[in-house]
């Protein structure tokens, strides 16, 4: 019995395995968002319907407006249609939808854990690469394409070849203001954007155990940015306390039975992984990216790197190109780089703990005059909780815009984009060229660091700001 947690979950969901190694897996929970209309078209064209609608949960996030909760007020006709199609498709097939403006609506990867749908030991899929998020509760969760979404709708199963496993151990005590975001950026900087390709990543070690559920969700969310097929953290008391009492969490005797199953999930001590990586958590600083891949991350006290220091010609050329796109000069301290916009939100960092961390920095301070700063809570639930705590007033008093839940500026599918050349301090997950709009320059960082950048108008070590040194 020296199985990894991944193997245990894989085995449990195996319907059959073909001689050629392809395995048919049964999907516990299938999440949908408003970008999935194609899969329903595909289904209709073949005269099929969802096999297990009771296992499907939907919410609009990619195309919703963050300035209104009314579908009819979505200005772009195409965007409005995407939201309306999700509503029609879920009604037609009896799928539960957390609709716009209702309790429960939110970014699909915020909604799942919040509703208690993301549970230890399950196999969860969604037509979105950041589905790796849900692995934070000890689930096997990964993103799929729209043809696969149609396949899961029709059959509740998915063909997969068994991926490899990678254990990423982070031991030591994280410093003050070093969050799940900083840990995952440090990991990706170490393994590279393709470092986890073909692997399911399991994060372990004392620094990971010490993370809150929100911190683990952020960590697993960006597994895909390190190439990982999925990311996971073994469930423990932090997990169980987080899930207990949520709308779809087991109750009563079912809860006790679930706990017993969940406690048996963690990888055996002698489990063997295909690859091992380790980091010293105590050495991680608040991180900021400078280039166009999440692997291009630096500690806040770093300087923009010089392409001439690159190991080979290919990297030199790539770095030089990124510096041009990003409008940066080699050797400049990160702390001297000014920002135009701040975006606090996305499936990576829009949960209540993220709101609190940013508000703690914003409290009693003012957003720099040159900066336009947004806070976009991840769900209706997060928004209501934050408002109950008065956080929206803290943000507004400081000069932040407090907006409605959705994916928003992370990828701008709803039209929330930055202008060409604008520099954005963003708590999202991708700093790709044009990700936040053509020509937009994205830097990834934690919510507290983003709030600090909003206040000073440049990248700032939040620890120094809070200590009155910046």
């Amino acid at each position: 019995m020296s199985e990894t947690m991944f193997e245990k979950i894989w085995q449990k969901h195996r319907v059959l395995e073909r001689e050629d190694g392809q395995t048919l897996l049964y999907v516990d929970t299938h999440l949908l968002h408003d970008g999935g209309a194609t899969a329903f078209d595909f289904l209709r064209n073949r005269g099929l319907k969802p096999r297990a609608p009771e296992r499907i949960f939907a919410t609009p996030d990619h195309y919703v407006s963050t300035s209104s909760r009314k579908v009819e007020e979505i200005e772009d006709e195409r965007h409005r249609e995407m939201v309306e199609k999700l509503d029609r498709n879920t009604r037609e097939y009896g799928i539960k939808q957390f609709g716009l403006g209702t309790e429960g609506q939110g970014i699909v990867h915020v909604m799942g854990p919040e509703q208690g749908l993301s549970q230890p030991g399950i196999l969860l899929v969604c037509g979105d690469s950041h589905t790796s998020t849900h692995g934070a509760v000890g689930a096997l969760a990964f993103g799929i394409g729209s043809t696969e979404v149609a396949h899961v709708l029709a059959t509740q199963t998915l063909w997969q070849r068994k991926p490899k496993t990678m254990r990423i151990r982070v031991d030591g005590r994280l410093s003050d203001q070093v969050t799940g975001k900083d840990v995952i950026l440090a990991i990706i900087a170490k393994i590279g954007a393709a470092g986890g390709t073909g692997h399911v990543l399991e994060y372990t070690g004392s620094a990971i155990r010490g993370l809150s559920m929100e911190g683990r969700l952020t960590l697993c969310n960006m597994s895909i940015e390190g190439g990982g097929r999925a990311g996971m953290v073994a469930p423990d008391d932090t997990t169980f306390q987080y899930i207990a009492g949520r709308p779809y969490a087991p109750k009563g005797a079912a809860w006790d039975a679930a706990l017993e199953r969940w406690r048996a999930l963690p990888s055996a001590d002698d489990a063997v992984f295909d690859a091992e990586v380790s980091l010293d958590g105590s050495a991680i600083s608040p991180m900021v990216t400078w280039g166009n891949s999440p692997e291009d991350a630096l500690p806040i006290d770093g300087r923009i790197p010089d392409p001439s220091s690159a190991a080979d010609a290919e990297r030199r050329e790539q770095m030089a190109r990124m510096l041009v796109y990003m409008g940066l000069e080699a050797g400049t301290p990160l702390s001297e780089v000014a920002v135009d916009r701040v975006f606090i939100g996305s499936c990576t960092n829009s949960r209540i703990e993220d709101m609190r961390a940013a508000a703690a920095v914003a409290k009693g301070r003012k957003v720099a005059g040159s900066v336009r700063a947004w806070v976009v809570p991840g769900s209706e639930g997060v928004k209501r909780q934050a408002e109950a705590e008065g956080l929206h007033e803290v943000f507004r008093a400081a000069g932040f815009e407090w907006r409605e839940p959705g994916c928003s500026m992370c990828l701008g599918t709803n039209g929330d984009i930055a202008q060409p050349g604008e520099r954005v301090a963003s708590t999202s997950n991708r700093n790709f060229m044009g990700r936040q709009g053509p020509g937009a320059r994205t830097h990834l960082l934690s919510p507290a660091m983003a709030a600090a950048a909003a206040i000073t108008g440049r990248f700032t070590d939040v620890r120094r700001l809070l200590a009155g040194e910046a």
Partner: protein, 200 residues
């Protein structure tokens, strides 16, 4: 799905590493249904200058590579977002094969299910092929799926691995749903065994 067996076509070099699916098709085109021709969305922003004119230096805009049907790319090609329209854009523009040292996992799956064959070759082999097609714009590459080989312009032959199941589907142009339905009995039996404890 359109079947794929062999191809003898012009190959275009895109040597950069980490070309993400946001570059292959920017997010603002994702609301277009599959019926829409996605050709013009392919590398929409990358192939244009800031003023909107075509960038003459971008490989896909160069005359010699206009009819390319094979893309040869740097490592981690098509990483990032799961958007299947990244495959549609390549497919609609005529591409049927992508060769790289590594791919984003989701793109690789999406490609195999949409008639676009992802071929992984060792980094030094890809580098060598890139050098050949950059030195001789318009040079052709042969890809043989049944034999699982790529023949470079210099005549060198390189074997590649492909999942046997995906290969079968691609050779026959099968979509998986029909095939999965032939296992209905196993799925139904699993559902009964999986039991009530796992129902929501």
């Amino acid at each position: 799905m359109e079947a794929f067996r062999t191809m003898d076509a012009v190959a275009v070099p895109l040597p950069r590493p980490n070309i993400d699916t946001d570059q292959i098709i920017p997010a603002r085109f994702l609301s277009r249904p599959r019926e829409v021709d996605h050709t013009e969305f392919l590398f929409h922003d990358a192939r244009r200058l800031p003023d909107g004119e075509q960038n003459p230096d971008f490989a896909l805009n160069r005359e010699a590579w206009r009819n390319a049907r094979i893309v040869v790319a740097g490592k981690n090609f098509a990483c990032g977002s799961s958007r299947e329209s990244a495959v549609w854009a390549l497919f609609d523009a005529g591409f049927r094969v992508a060769i790289a040292p590594s791919f984003g996992d989701i793109f690789r799956n999406n490609g195999m299910k949409n008639g676009l064959l992802p071929v992984m070759l060792p980094a030094d082999v890809v580098e060598n092929i890139l050098a050949q097609i950059e030195a001789d714009p318009g040079a052709r590459i042969q890809v043989d799926l049944p034999a699982q080989t790529v023949t470079a312009p210099d005549g060198s032959v390189h074997a590649f691995e492909v999942d046997p199941f995906a290969k079968h589907c691609l050779l026959e142009g099968l979509d998986e749903i029909g095939l999965t339905q032939s296992y209905e009995e196993e799925i139904a039996a699993f559902e009964r065994r999986f039991g009530r404890e796992n129902v929501r």
